[in-house]
Subunit: 422 residues, 2 copies
């Protein structure tokens, strides 16, 4: 089955909106063994819309059109569909009633401009949207089915999940198995796995997605001993570098381990400023292990919230393994947690020195018995990337501790300056 | 000038990577009065790549190709470029030397697989990449210049900024003025502005980008009194609903105001779990006003870190205006800040009740003199969206306070249950 996607709108083309809908739809298809053969984005221009839709319909079995169903004058998708088929638009009374009810439930008046959202090409099949005022619809042109969907991500996802994906058949059925690592380069990882002999029909794909790196094994759907052996060889080669399999949500992975061990976590963050805590709390059920977080952005906060000594801050500076250690131990002492992570660093763009350039970040993991600290150099990265990599590094330390693996990862993308263990 | 973009790679097409490069490039062009006329994404398939490039070259003056320059076997862009021109690939010695130096500086050995990255189509113009091992290159086909760029965002952005955007002329020069609001629907906002008479050549665009909404005024480059009058009418209509102009980074906007007034901020977060603090700290220079943050995810943390009374928690529940108020006042008392924001809510998917469904969130803004609290209902949203909207709401309260405007926004997308002021 040939499936194409057409994203519409100046704001997508000009980059005011990042097209996460397209990525999501691609993932949904991949999970069903299907894929887009091509994706396009065009501007809000009637003639171009009609022309490109016509081109796509000549190639594809299904065309997924996204966006342009809103109530405003730059929403042109329904009009383009009408022109493509050479039919007029008609007011769909069923959808008008639906919108009126939607507004009644919210105790609001329906703006008259919303009526435009019920104008569909004659003969189109109405597709319900229970979470918004833009209905979808399906037309057929050159034997290609065209589904028009709203641009709002929650509405788009709901419509695809309920009204489109179930219609599609199972397709050719590819299996994708994923392995996630951290701190490795794409070429370094490819090199590590280069000696694995792949059976016919099996191939590897690599993806560097800050801050993780992913190896994908593509194969046929039916799992054979040969394919399982490839998985085993990858595990054996990556050893403790392997962060997780299948699930790229590391916070979820760590949460599962922490809850299984009955441990509670706290964290003390300086340069990441709550990013690590927020990532952990983004997973439902995190209250079962995440106890509290300290965002100690100033020296005063480190002293008052965590009991870090002023002398230590003065002598070693806020970005030092000594202060990282004191932060983690202080967080443990000032909470009910069993484990504490701390992060203190220079995220830039200013604030660096010869001795401690921008990207210098110190980490500690404290338990009741011991404390592991390290100083890394995350240079050549933006402020945001330094903070993201720092949060991921702290998670990687915790993951290694929980797995009883070496705490210091063999990262080829990150330089380690110093380690301490007490 | 006709400019198209071609993103390559299974991982982009299948949605494993969200194409932020395309969005960024679109924004860069828009700022220069230029735009993509079309964007496409195709898979890592040699024949398709060559076919689509050929199509694009027949329409465009510039084609920007992104991805497929890595060292692994699924990186096919250079090979496709060679096939398109009918020329062989040659080892570019200049780039080999460059890569060798790159690895020497990092005190690492160059993996032999990297040599592939120096294989360029005969006659191609080498484009430098000082931040990675994938060089870019330019070829010309059907009078269309084709620039090949690496997929890694930092490398892509660097190459465009330094080697491509400066080459492009000024184009037809459109001016875009942006107004940002919060808590309003697209149709509600369009309705509010519907009576503004637009001079010829001026049009409005609307963009709902969670959690903000944006009005864009498109016009000619030269600012006339008529265009300025449209800006004034929008300001007059939106009044205090207008969060900011031109800058959609609200944390930056708030930082500017806080520093100008010499005020310090703290925040106490439950369901957002550090998200608000992390957003504030993402802006360079935030240490000048952001003092510390409390991530009080458990009741015990609220009691111990903020001095919220156990009786209050027991009587009203953790999600209540009373507890939000106690959290904000406690944060103020336990910090050196002048203003405190607090957030406590039910982000779901579980934990809701009839009285307090998922999406119930309470907020407080405490000053030395007074405390403003409100309880909102952010229903019909995912856990992530509830948390994002909650963080934005708290920022909106702070922005309104700093501007001496009404604290309670007239949000048409959010239901307000309760307000208190003491």
């Amino acid at each position: 089955m040939i499936i194409e996607m057409l994203s519409t709108g100046d704001e997508v083309l000009q980059g005011d909106i990042v097209d996460t809908n397209a990525a999501w739809a691609g993932q949904q298809l991949a999970e069903r063994g299907l894929k887009f053969s091509r994706r396009q984005t065009v501007a809000d221009d009637l003639a171009t819309l009609v022309e490109v839709m016509d081109e796509c319909c000549q190639r594809a079995d299904w065309l997924l059109v996204n966006g342009g169903l809103g109530p405003t004058s730059d929403d042109l998708s329904a009009e383009a569909a009408g022109k493509l088929l050479g039919v007029p638009l008609e007011l769909n009374q069923q959808w008008v009633a639906n919108m009126q009810q939607w507004y009644r439930q919210k105790q609001r008046e329906m703006p008259p401009s919303n009526l435009k959202q019920a104008m569909l090409p004659q003969g189109a099949e109405l597709i319900d949207n229970p979470v918004g005022t833009a209905c979808g619809f399906i037309i057929t042109h050159h034997q290609c089915h065209v589904l028009f969907t709203p641009g709002v991500p929650s509405e788009f996802k709901h419509m695809l999940s309920h009204s489109w994906l179930p219609r599609l058949s199972d397709g050719d059925s590819t299996r994708v198995k994923r392995f996630f690592a951290f701190g490795l380069s794409e070429s370094g990882l490819a090199q590590q796995l280069a000696d694995i002999e792949l059976p016919a029909g099996v191939r590897l794909g690599f993806r560097a997605a800050r801050p993780s790196i992913e190896v994908k094994v593509f194969s046929q759907k039916v799992l054979t001993p040969e394919i399982k052996r490839v998985y085993e060889l990858i595990r054996a080669q990556l050893k403790e570098q392997l962060f997780s399999e299948d699930n790229g949500n590391w916070a979820e992975f760590v949460q599962h381990k922490m809850i299984a061990k009955g441990l509670k976590l706290t964290c003390a963050e300086s340069c990441t400023g709550g990013m690590l805590a927020s990532q952990l709390v983004s997973v439902p059920g995190s209250s079962a292990y995440f106890e509290r977080g300290f965002v100690t952005y100033t020296n005063q906060a480190k002293v008052q919230m965590l009991g870090v000594s002023s002398q230590l801050l003065e002598h070693y500076g806020a970005v030092s393994v000594e202060v990282a250690q004191a932060m983690a131990k202080g967080a443990l002492a000032h909470s009910e947690a069993d484990l504490a992570l701390s992060i203190t660093g220079i995220a830039g763009p200013d604030g660096g020195s010869d001795d401690k350039p921008v990207g210098t970040v110190c980490f500690a993991l404290a338990t009741a018995q011991s404390c592991f600290t390290q100083r890394l150099l995350l240079t050549g990265r933006t402020r945001q990337a330094i903070r993201e990599t720092a949060a991921a590094t702290a998670l990687d330390m915790l993951r290694r501790y929980l797995n009883e693996q070496p705490i210091w990862g063999d990262y080829d993308l990150i330089r380690r300056i110093q380690t301490e263990q007490s």
